[in-house]
Symmetry: C2
Subunit: 462 residues, 2 copies
Amino acid sequence: MRGELGRIVGAEHVLDAPPGSPYNRDCTRRRGLEGRADAVVLPGSAQEVAALLGWCYAHDVPLVPRGGGTGLTGGAVPVQGGVVCSLERLRAIRELEPALWRMLPEAGVSTRDVQRLARENGLFFGPDPGASEQSQIGGNVATNAGGPHGLKYGVTGAWVAGLEVVLAPGELVEVGGWAGKDVAGYDLKSLLVGSEGTLGVITAVRLRLLPAPEEALALVVFLGSRRAGCEGMGALLGSGLRPSVLDFMDAETLRMLSPSYPGEVPAGAGFGLIVEVDGTRSDVQEQRGALLEALAGAALAVQEPDDGQALWRWRDGVNGVLTGVRGAKVSEDVVFPRERLNEGLERFERMAGAHGLPSCAFGHGGEGNVHATVLVDPASERELQEAEAVGEELYALVVELGGSVAGEHGVGWLKGGRLESQWSPRAVDLHEQIKRAFDPKGLLNPGKKLARYPARSPVTSN
Amino acid sequence: MRGELGRIVGAEHVLDAPPGSPYNRDCTRRRGLEGRADAVVLPGSAQEVAALLGWCYAHDVPLVPRGGGTGLTGGAVPVQGGVVCSLERLRAIRELEPALWRMLPEAGVSTRDVQRLARENGLFFGPDPGASEQSQIGGNVATNAGGPHGLKYGVTGAWVAGLEVVLAPGELVEVGGWAGKDVAGYDLKSLLVGSEGTLGVITAVRLRLLPAPEEALALVVFLGSRRAGCEGMGALLGSGLRPSVLDFMDAETLRMLSPSYPGEVPAGAGFGLIVEVDGTRSDVQEQRGALLEALAGAALAVQEPDDGQALWRWRDGVNGVLTGVRGAKVSEDVVFPRERLNEGLERFERMAGAHGLPSCAFGHGGEGNVHATVLVDPASERELQEAEAVGEELYALVVELGGSVAGEHGVGWLKGGRLESQWSPRAVDLHEQIKRAFDPKGLLNPGKKLARYPARSPVTSN
């Protein structure tokens, strides 16, 4: 196999992946999820990706596309072996046209570089998923990654004008393009966005950017309770304000994060919001005033950090801090309709309590997107099992309340089969038919984004 | 047939459609495109639509979904007979939650009513296709309709959070929902948006609205030539301004529309722009200043009409005026990448000239969306044929320049087969496989949105 793959990409770009290789994993910590790649291939061009998929299709070998490896649901883990196709060498910016508000990075360009290049040219790229230095734009599109600014600016897909993609059985295809409107065919681009490498391998992305807002102002709002916090968010959005960010932390999250907060958490704080408004200078001041007015009755305190960057570093530290408390955490990325957020959070906390696990929740409140977390001792098999049980109950709750089992972290391997509980049988059937149309041999990232519970293949679990 | 259909929807809701019936046509004037429905059925509920499609599937009868009948590409014309399913009785607003920025109208609610209800509740629905009093939200979604405000606010699909839709062989299904983010399955919602009734029948639409901008200001900008106009648009957007509308009219359009212009068209005007900016009061004034600055060198005149509504009435009159000049016009809805707009317009004008036909062009410049028009004498078979020939050359040009053969009017029947020239064979193949997955018997709006040139069925052409 190595010889044939080497003829496609050059022998030096074919790697082994012994147990423990980073190419067998992503950032999913759940039970040490690890696959076993038969080979890791680093193509140097989209044409090489096409040739590689062609070879895989001819030899019935699975192909697992891989971006920065920052996924949290095992999407890039080669659970059924095969070839891991890492896009890390596709790092060119093929086009950057500030006056036309657009950029065409290859799949392996880091999210951070896309953001930076946009900013340096007076433009703005909205999506801001975590781990932006390591994560790559191709993977962001493949998972339709989100982040705090999704509230005003939409998640990654909203920024995608077109894709260069390798489709089975090995063809380089363009979908979408720079035309500002296009209804010529069915929306294949949106199908590929969020398809997690199961329909094709994204090799380059046409991004439509926006002029950068002149200014952004982040405020931290403390409220007395979960109910007051959810009502406060409602009042804020109901007043007609359109914040760019409306993130929340519940009482437990706040408590654990208060030591690192760049300021003073007021006594009695039972819920926290990070609210950002942006626009022209005068517009930001107007919005600031309206925000204070909308929250006047509800807030314990509204704080304006001197250093906005310190605030976001604090927020970005949440995963590390929560993991540190008991050695591990199990976080589920789910969505409630906004008006059910308070109920969803309350019932989740009770579920975790009933299973004897401490819990907390934080996320993107404007979209009802919750990272529902239980803290566990990784050495306790019982706690890990209880955490799984909490997850099952949570997913049932999400469906009951009309939300979604997957918000911004994808389905990957971990959530395979959950769609069946959320969608009607006919829609599930269409999901599977679409997969077969794009990938008749089932070789593209097999075992991922499955609609029905799969017969799970053996995976190293340690 | 009538008896059985009557048992589903009530006998009084089954109509005949003799030749000349409006249900055999839409607003496509091209060669009097007319179909022949075997029956017209007016269901009173989504459940009745499901039962109707079930009956059609059991009896191999085509079903043609119909909204307001304002389409311009024959999308709602029963070219292969069958049952026309008009959604006009599905007029309920099932939900209107201003504080949650959302509305759930049934498919038959008029676009104008959606806009009005949003406005009356402090909200805003961006899409503004023509004929909004007659056109319906279900049809808007089915065609992914656009309009001037698409530049800043996106076309209809950008506002859709979910759909209630009847899928073959007759099931009522929900896709999407009120969850603010959702990556649980492939994006069926986006596939249905713009599918023109060929994949399912939309019965209700979950719309996510926005807080209404405090103010909007429309300006008319006159420039000396097409080139100056296209460069002016480039300078305007390149300066970082983000207008809500950036429509254009070329010299010929301006000349024909100048008598009805609510103001004075300056001598030497060879290109006109309608630019709208919106936001808070202060923001609008800032943008106004920036706009004047960006266009200072290029513009002959910038006019601020006293009456904004009069301006839009003038703009909306364009089709009537152009039709009146020679008795008929043939307008093609195409898209050029913005930086190719000047070249596209210039070459279109030359093409029409070479065929001996007067031409003009107008449209949504910010998106490169052009309504490329030739004026014809409807009694001259030769001119009609020349107009067809111009169209063929134009579509080839659009593909050459990397644009799209369909911007906001859909593919319908008129543009069937053009996709093949724009997309690669594998993508065309997927378009067709998706159709088969949704509609295995090919009974949903047959003959529409075809990717490859169909064997055209006989259509009354008068």
